[in-house]
Symmetry: C2
Subunit: 347 residues, 2 copies
Amino acid sequence: MSADREVTIYDIAKYLNVSAATVSRGLKNNPMISKSTRRKIEDTAQLLGYQSNTFASSLRSRQTNTLGVLVPRLNSHFMSSAIAGMEDAANRHGYNLIIAQSLEDVEKEKRNAATMFNKRVDGLLISLSSNTQTIRHLEPFFKKKIPVVFFDRIHQHDESTAVGINNYEAAYNITKHLISQGCTKIMHLGGNVLRNVYQERLNGYQQALRDHHLPVKEKWHLTSHLSEQAGTDAARYILDLPVNKRPDAVFSANDTAAVYCMLALKDAGLRIPEDIAFAGFNNDPISRVIAPNLTTVEYPGESLGHTAATHLINHLKGISNLYNTNAITLRADLVIRDSSLKNKLQE
Amino acid sequence: MSADREVTIYDIAKYLNVSAATVSRGLKNNPMISKSTRRKIEDTAQLLGYQSNTFASSLRSRQTNTLGVLVPRLNSHFMSSAIAGMEDAANRHGYNLIIAQSLEDVEKEKRNAATMFNKRVDGLLISLSSNTQTIRHLEPFFKKKIPVVFFDRIHQHDESTAVGINNYEAAYNITKHLISQGCTKIMHLGGNVLRNVYQERLNGYQQALRDHHLPVKEKWHLTSHLSEQAGTDAARYILDLPVNKRPDAVFSANDTAAVYCMLALKDAGLRIPEDIAFAGFNNDPISRVIAPNLTTVEYPGESLGHTAATHLINHLKGISNLYNTNAITLRADLVIRDSSLKNKLQE
DNA sequence: TTGTACGCGTTATCAG
DNA sequence: CTGATAACGCGTACAA
């Protein structure tokens, strides 16, 4: 009576005088089962408080209905939005998410990938750590044909899909916008160019300068982790330049660095955008709170996560073919705000 | 040769002419196994590219080394920090996180709880959705003695631990601070009092008023979702009051509402803190970007998540007893910033 | 449409 | 210290 055993399909079978196989079928909407017995099975399952045992099921069927999510950090606005989008998509299709963060450390990324592999995730969603050089640690997935979808910080790979935005174009356009506002000495706060997103933003920025016959100076390209501190440091760097050598605009590869740079420069008495205009990237909440509001690039985290997960799931269900879709590019529109409206304010 | 079968402990056993049981033991650091055979087993596992099958293991051992995390929303600074803390703790102890969000919807919370239960998580970390009335949907966990740890938005329960801060005290202190700055007409932007955090913040606020012989007016207590829109709406509400009936301070139960209220009031020409002082809650990044910086309460998301997960894991490992620790309260210090320094600025 | 019988890979139990 | 064997709960050929 007080047996602590779980309710299994055998209990249901015994209760109904049918075989366990029938119960198993009835529970899984197997078409070749009569309406009436299915109904009885479902009712009994309810009655007995049956809970399917996912391990036993996974062990037998070799699939887990679980997706692995591997990200550099969980606690950024962009990433938590992306994960929220993934969770939504996964939930809709009966998948679960198992999540780990690499904290920008390849070694941890490797360990986490191994764990995910071990846990037999049906597919992997990954955004690479900043210092990841090769994706050799994903080989086990490729070998076993476990689909991998890269998002945000992606890597070219024939048998995987990459979901992101056109970073080059966005950076090009926002730089062009600064130029159209009359800026000619535009600085760039960039991230580690090992990651495509930062490399492409740098490329877009530089090409825009070239196309408008502006000099591309190494001194105006700072590389950092784009943290709050990095933003403050960049401000210090600018303030230490002779006044006539200072940039008249800054394009930062993320909003955090842009905002903290702005704060420090404002503290030092510089006017934004009159003395120095600003543009960021991500459309982080802080970009709408800083005064003046930061011009930035809308980075659609939630829909990006949703798209990546949905694509992966469709592939798992055989609806789409991952290998035919090497890249999905989402729109990333400019969000023009006061921090870059130099001319307008001067008129 | 091209067999797609996985490498199992039987393959290792056969290779070494030992039994599968021995291999199983060797792989799990079972003490009663000789050093030499363990070494051979480990080497062979490596050689053959063995990967343990977690389902088979879970099926047999009835534990998953997986923790369920159920939150209202993934994409808030506080929540993603808390989850980052949990992930860190879990990872350290060989546990994995499976995460779902209720999107502030009880029904989804129920479904998610059922899924977690089904997936046989070893323990559950949960922060309740805003409209959750009872925790009956957690009964299956309680009945099966699966430990549940509430965090942030908690619920009193004899057999569970709750991890949070002293919201009453924090609210009391920050209100007292506003009073000490000379504010006498203090408004409160609160959340749904179904959730302890908002009820306690309201209580703390009201008690502080009473203790300083200030009136507690219903008109100065607005309840909302504390969204950006709610903040803007609150500003409208204030501006619509006759000038002499307006509050001279606002204490918001979160930073988002506070900040968007500030932005709208500043737009309308009010000076902060001279005309109206502000205090928030959470120490969200936006509180450090808004001008003037928002006085707020440090809500230690990461350490809270870390603490909750560690406590749960210790319990699972038998190191601590969940039932002896009904509550863990973390420090939540005030962060005094310019938005509330009324007197100082007037001097 | 349903039942039979077996195996998925591991771990627990008991015996040696 | 090690081996043999029986579960764990479910899915699925194959047979009926």
